[in-house]
Amino acid sequence: MTRPSRILQHVFLLIFALYALMPVYLVLLASVRSEADLFSGPLTLPWPIDFSNFQRVWFESGFSQFVVNSLVISVGSTALVMLTAPLAGFAFAKLKFKGKEAVFALFLAGLVVPAPSVIVALYGDLQMLGLLNTRIGVILPQAALLLPFSIFMMRTVMEDVPDELLEAATIDGATLFETFIKVVVPVVKPGLLSLALIAFLFSWQEYLLPLVVIQDETLKPLTVGAATLQGRYGVDYGGIAAAGIIAFAPIVVLFLVLQRSFTRGLTAGAVK
């Protein structure tokens, strides 16, 4: 390749790295900028570095509680997905039963269903069930909305389990469920980890469901908390920046540590 075109390629790669990183860098700077330093321009390095923004949102704006709520909701939804989707994915990939095609089509249709299109009914249903303004009222529909993607991905993963393994277990007299737990689960562990990560990521990022379901300040997750903070003190930029970082730092760290698993999960659902 000629030198100029190679340099051009490098420039292209770097410009878009800048596009990805600049906004994050900007928030990091704003979060440790003291009030006195506020007007020295968005790109100047803040000095002195000031962590009072974090202290303020954590202790005074309820973010210590929002983190707990985000964790409860995300872990809850992820657990529900993990308890249901792998079983169903296995059945769709490896078992024969009446009505299989129809049920799978029903789940497949759910891949495109937007949360805003069901809230009109979901809101009344949750109210009737006494689940409005509870975290479980977010967890249940959240998990249900994640199921189509999860089942689709699990079916892809389960298809790679060798039939000989299943047959061998059957010959040994294992029931279907025993086979699943003792033979299938160990083989598909990486796929399960990918699914758990993605379910957690999507639950953590969800905004509309908790916005609609939860009114109580002490039950809100981080996404709703951060949006409320922006609306309420439209001028506390340091505070909002700190809030934003609290809202995305855990998931970014998780992604960087487990990048391979994330990538595998996202592309498995897509590429097939």
Binding site: S5, Q9, F12, F16, A17, A20, P23, V24, L26, A30, G41, P42, L80, L83, T84, A85, L87, A88, A91, F97, L106, F107, L108, G110, V112, V113, P114, P116, S117, V118, I119, A121, L122, Y123, G124, L140, P141, A143, A144, L145, P148, T175, L176, F177, L201, Q205, Y207, L208, T223, A226, A227, Q230, I240, A247, F248, V252, F255, T263, L266, A270
Partner: protein, 286 residues
């Protein structure tokens, strides 16, 4: 061996959860749309009256237009960028690929709400980064209130949306390029093809089905997105960034017109299910 019933037990937990919180609510929404509502309770059966209102609801058509523009912008920008970045990266060492694709994908891990807040700042007319940088390079006169002006609001939001999406396109294209037979590239190189020619005549044609997938995926996402608009402009200024989901939300929670909100939801569902069904057919063929 197992019985059909035993197999069903594997599907049942997922099916119950899905039925209770997705499938049944969809049927309810469809039923609700056939009634007129008063203060949160059904008043009278009204047939298709709620749907008849769609024709004269200017906001609905504006919103639908914005969804369409959003889909087209997404096809032009994040998909193309993703394709080019992925084809450049494919020829780099695995280390570079790993680091760069992590960087490009990073914004996708940030909740859209937070992305909206951050980009709201970048576009802020007074202290925002964009106007600040334009000032620095002597283009201050190009600055503006990006999200508050009718001409720039939607496209500015789309740049923020693209920020969270192009990394996903890079990942998908990369894994597709890596599955292309390397001997095709070697043959092209031996024939003296330049990088641009290899891109144009090997990569692009062989990635047709990947592009199709991403295109259909982004068309569906363009119908579904909500968070980014809601935390930045709430559909404003005026109705300049109104989309179908924000129109539903407002009709339901702010106006309290359940019947019409349900009719709008059904329209949204019909559109995404149609595009989804088409996608499934097309992708299965290719």
């Amino acid at each position: 061996m197992y019985t059909s019933r035993q197999a069903w037990m594997f599907v049942l937990p997922a099916l119950l959860l899905y039925a209770a919180f997705v499938a049944v609510p969809i049927l309810q929404v469809a039923a609700y749309s056939l009634f007129s509502w008063d203060n949160g309770s059904i008043k009278a059966f009204s047939g298709l009256a709620n749907y008849a209102r769609l024709g004269t609801d200017g906001v609905f058509w504006t919103a639908l237009g914005h969804n369409a523009i959003w889909a087209i912008l997404t096809l032009c920008f994040p998909l193309l960028i993703g394709l080019i970045l992925a084809s450049i990266l494919a020829e780099r060492s695995p280390r570079v690929v790993k680091v760069m694709s992590a960087i490009y994908f990073l914004p996708r891990t940030i909740p859209l709400v937070v992305a909206g807040i951050i980009w709201g700042w970048i576009y802020n007319p007074i202290f925002g980064l964009l106007n600040y940088v334009l000032d620095l390079v002597g283009l201050g006169s190009w600055g503006g209130a990006w999200l508050a002006e009718s001409g720039t609001a939607l496209i500015s939001l789309n740049v923020a949306g693209a920020w969270t999406f192009y990394g996903f396109c890079v990942l998908i294209y990369l894994s597709a390029i890596q599955s292309i037979d390397p001997s095709l590239y070697e043959a092209a190189s031996l024939d003296g093809a330049s990088w641009g020619q290899r891109f144009r005549f090997v990569t692009v044609p062989l990635l047709k089905s990947t592009t199709l997938f991403l295109g259909l995926y982004s068309a569906i996402e363009a119908m579904r997105f909500f968070d980014l608009v809601w935390v930045t402009t709430q559909g404003g200024p005026g109705y300049d960034t109104e989309v179908l989901t924000t129109h539903i939300y407002k009709t339901f929670f702010l106006v309290g017109d359940f019947g019409y909100a349900a009719a709008l939801s059904v329209v949204l569902l019909v559109i995404v299910l149609t595009v989804g069904g088409l996608s499934y057919r097309i992708l299965r063929q290719s």
